[in-house]
Subunit: 407 residues, 4 copies
């Protein structure tokens, strides 16, 4: 790979990506364009602009964007239509943000004539894979620079020396090592590494940043109604909201009630297992409610097929294959199923749990006439069940007869 | 189908199956053998003996058995190895008990020379299917009598008249209609029908029978260590127990902390949707803990394959295909995966939730050496990731190049 | 079910459906509307009109339609996009025609104000299921009459007596029993029953109706180029044709070369196994060619996902669930994958076999630059493979190390 | 990776692996042990011994083994139980041989105290992955040397110069470049590269080495009976044979009749598409016959599950994951299904095709009593079908009613 001439860097404004910015300038002598996205991580973005200016990036090469609506509408919501969970439990909060960042990096590279993009993910994790697969899938000719895999700044000390040598300001609280590493966006906060590395040890309380401990949640349950249209949440307690507004509100509710904490050991795509603490307050409510509304509006055949496809779909997102034909095929199937997933779900939030306690819809497939223990006025003929069972049993009977015969 | 001569009846001792007993005698003039199983439903069985005797069943034709250990060891545990949940949420507590009952009915039929078995499930539900598919799969020549599909006792009034006419005692509290219908065993209690038939309405508190409301659970969390061997729970807090003892203890713990309540609308095999309230306190802890121990002892490839197979496996159990070649194939695959699922999980129980907070095992695949943010002493070469990504990206690049070319 | 007042009958003009027509008139006293479709079965339709008139059906109640283009375009082609084969071998020629017939029956019922439809399939086969599931899925209130399950005309003798009694003409060659039963349409001819009922016995030559024996095919191979656009065949040897024209031409070519004969024992949805002789000359060529064009235009991820979904998709069609949400979900996924399945395949036809021998496309993903044994000018860096293998191996190494440790 | 001290090399005795042998000696100064396996590739092995001796390998470091029985019994047969085909067509002849070779390399390494193994696969193909994943899965501490990824002998000229410089004899016919590359074993011969690199061009006749052209096959069909026990072939025309004997005989039969030729473009695990010509004469017969015997002895539920699992299973083998927990899980499921796959299949071989024309078994599930068009003496009650259809239709009716209601 020839040296890059102009690089679009995913820039947070923090110490690590500031060092990367400087390293790109010094190592490759290349022009750097910064891209800083508001994905709902809860940090001010303007300081990133100042820092970039300080390191000599011209105003026109600094991209700062609020992509929260796009993030929820085009990434989070499609994923929740699938009820996607990785390894039974993880709501994929980090995984789903990476393709959006790569998409903007590649688009900006095209706008500004850059030949490369760069990210600050390490060589041990999944994020490098997610950033890079997405970038290559969107532009097969782009170069991707992953400084953590290239440079020799392999210890905290070396990083700080580099920062000092290049006059990069280091906030006082960043001089020591953080006790764990954090990623955040509107969907979740993840924490991993350092104090969390022994999976036998309980995670210390100070790791949690976005949800109160269930013990500290209100002593009274709260009920909330979430409205859906075609598989996407569109209202809370009857108030219509935009996608990002809804997720923001659900985060607030879930966080307050201690919902969505997860302590998980997961299998990384790069091969080892890692332990993470995830907080997905709004997402946890959304998943529960989505399953709730599907339970009355989605046909059993469609629902079961979705359940069977889901693990693969979740794995594709986790592994970084958002922009792959197979993810798009599965999405087409899932989206097809959501045409009537419209209605309202009532959740009960209490001390760390969020449970569906009621659901209703004009699109409901639930038929009290059919299911009732009372007289059903002929809606269902119980005698049909005899034939249904006989023919479902036939192959089992033939098997049993064969096995009996051979004994 | 010719009339049965001798029938083994799944007999609870309750009003409904007593009526069935009498109806079999009067309708078919056949000999009746009763089978009453202690599946952990929490009811005395001896009254069933007395009632059977009262209705003229000779002592030798009354089978009363404690099958709790067999139930947990040969049915519940194999199912939990698969992390089976139906439609994302239901732990299959009713479904998994039916094949065991049918198995004993068929075995007893062979012992006593009966040509038929009978059950008290209605023509609208899944249980009839589960009873009958299991029976036919075990004996292709057996007759199965399902009185609810045959007789004309279609209202409560007619049933009570039949009882009165045949001198069947009706407990005072059974004279009115129950406000809902209940099934229970060591794994769960389910409630459905009547007051629960509107899925928009919250289930009344009095429906719950086996778990306290989370609001009434202790204000302090409790921690419990569950030990596993080859995928099955074998100890609690270091004390070795039998399968049924473990589930009993987990029920006690889970019930006390309000764990395992579920309000679900599900798709029945016979075609309509129904709403059930399920309480699975111990099973909820067991599932969480099993996932926890798998998270460090099960390889990612195996774990993901299990997750993909699970919905089908759960569907087979739900639909009554326990004794089918395809369930046995899936079980063989699942059991194969559990060889090293050995170790201990620490759960935190609090106000309705049960969460894994620690796990450890001699069989662990978690390698701190590989995952650490610190110096890994060469365990993992970050440069390998570049090649890994390049080759995973290659097909996506070729796709992107093709699409670019055609624009 | 109340008696039908007006019935739309799937009417072939043959003896059996003529008897059904009369039986509907006499049994139910209902008005009958006939629907006779040209699905490419190779029979004149006008005689059906005459016979219907003879039995008193007024001209306006006789529907005779050429649905060949719709059949191929909306049913056969979508199915072939999936490379659908049932139980590894069967091209679903009968299965795929049934939903179209039901669709027209239901549509005509709506046009003419009929409350029922009727078909001539027996109670042992799959076709009754296919007809009826499709009808109910399209109109939940329609009645379906299946005379073979209702009447007592259970032997050939009784049928002929009924015909005679009602002055239905019986062709001389229909007086004896046919030695096997046949279904045909533009996609295939199936034969089953009677002389074919012993699966150990080779099918007699006279069963085959649409393909020459491979031994009688030309001694010279023939090459044919099939052009595809977005997954559908659009031309043969460079000549653009309509869907039905293409299948007709492929039938001619395949039939002449003895292609597409299949002797199969299959598992019916109703539970037993049956043996069929299928001739699908054009379809066999189409499947081979479609796989051929996909091999260069479809990404591996998409192709493998399709292969995994295919058996389920084929099963749904076989079982009669064409009009089900899960078939439509799978179709959406499959169709999504076909956007670039455009190009040309060269087949070699010879003595019963049809094999891809060349394929080319502007949409090709095949890159000689990447795959060449020669110098690839840097398209592919072989060193990337080392990292690719290391990270794919990592979990296997961790497993092996665990197992070694525990020995 | 530190330099290897003692290497076990997969050694064919050909020019390429002789150069590798010398290169290992000169590049690493390491001791070399050679392993030459008779996998049925049809070459003399003794010349390999002489060449190894010539290059200074001591007698005790030369391993030459006939592994044909192990190959067929423990690798080929288990794979055929699954009916495994990759991308719909490829019988995995190369893929299945690699894990066996790696297994012996690793075992010999343990015996002789070697710290590394080496193979002659290039950096562009799948074989490197298969060799190495298998080796690492069997010994996590083994080193694997892949000279083609390391050295700079990147052209034919350089290789020949190296050979000359190190006094490696080059057969006259190896001086020029081969027009394509070949791999062979008892299951198949594959050819790829060079003259085959344009997938639009028909493969020249001289590529085929193991099968006659269908045009040159006998003008008379031949019939052959293949006997199976528990899913494995055990006899031909009534004569019991060992696994390798059976495959040898089937190769002879298939080759003579021009069966098993395949011209395929496939997706490699390393990301690009490649074109191969495969000849699998015996395997083609075996697959057809195995499907044939399953058709009467395997239950539909088991058969369909197998069909759904197969593509994944085939992909795992193709990608080199033979020694992975997920392949072993699938194998456990597949093997479970084969308990009654016992009986005999009659194939017709003619001019390139092999078709099942009859099958019989004591373990047959085919019931003429159930399927017959004639009077079935009550084996099957056609009226059961009505209930079966009604309940299968119920969810479709509820869907249709919902959609109608919302119009």
């Amino acid at each position: 790979m020839s040296a890059p001439k102009k690089v679009v860097l995913a820039y947070s404004g923090g110490l690590d990506t500031s060092i990367i910015l400087k390293w790109l300038q010094t190592e490759y002598g290349c022009e750097v364009v910064t891209f800083t996205a508001d994905l709902g991580q809860g940090e001010e973005l303007e300081p990133a602009r100042r820092k970039a200016l300080d390191m000599g990036i011209p105003e026109k090469s600094i991209y700062i964007e609020d992509v929260r609506e796009e993030f929820v509408r085009d990434f989070v919501f499609p994923m929740f239509r699938a009820n996607a969970v990785y390894e039974g439990l993880y709501l994929l909060g980090t995984s789903i943000a990476r393709p959006l960042i790569s998409k903007r990096l590649v688009e900006i590279a095209e706008e500004v004539g850059a030949d490369a993009v760069a990210h600050g993910a390490t060589g041990k994790g999944n994020d490098q894979v997610r950033f890079e697969l997405a970038a290559y899938a969107l532009n097969p000719d782009i170069k991707v620079i992953a400084p953590w895999r290239e440079w020799d700044l392999s210890s905290r000390t070396k990083l700080l020396e580099f920062a000092e040598a290049h006059q990069i300001q280091v906030a006082k609280d960043k001089r020591g090592e953080a006790p764990f590493s954090v990623d955040a966006n509107l969907l979740h906060t993840s924490s991993e590494g350092k104090v969390l590395e022994d999976p036998a040890e309980m995670a210390p309380d100070y790791v949690y940043q976005r949800t109160v401990a269930p013990e500290d949640a209100p002593n009274e349950a709260q009920y909330v109604d979430i409205g859906f249209e075609r598989g996407d949440a569109v209202s809370i307690d009857g108030v219509a909201m935009s996608p990002a507004e809804i997720l923001t509100k659900l985060n607030e509710l879930g966080g307050m009630h201690g919902c969505g904490r997860l302590d998980l050991v997961e299998g990384r795509f790069v091969g080892m297992k890692s332990r993470g603490i995830y907080e997905t307050p709004g997402g946890t409510l959304l998943l529960e409610a989505h399953r709730g509304i599907e339970s009355i509006t989605l046909d059993r055949g469609a629902a079961h097929l979705k359940d069977e496809l889901m693990p693969r779909y979740a794995e594709l997102i986790y592994n970084g294959f958002w922009y792959s034909p197979e993810r798009e095929m599965l999405q087409a199937a899932i989206d097809k199923s959501q045409e009537h997933v419209t209605g309202t779900v009532k959740l009960k939030l209490y001390k760390g749990s969020a449970r569906t306690v009621g659901r209703w819809s004009d699109h409901s497939l639930y038929s009290e006439a059919h299911v009732t223990f009372e007289d059903d006025a002929g809606a269902y003929d119980q005698k049909d069940a005899a034939g249904f069972i006989q023919l479902n049993a036939l192959r089992l009977k033939l098997l049993a007869a064969r096995n009996k015969r051979l004994k």
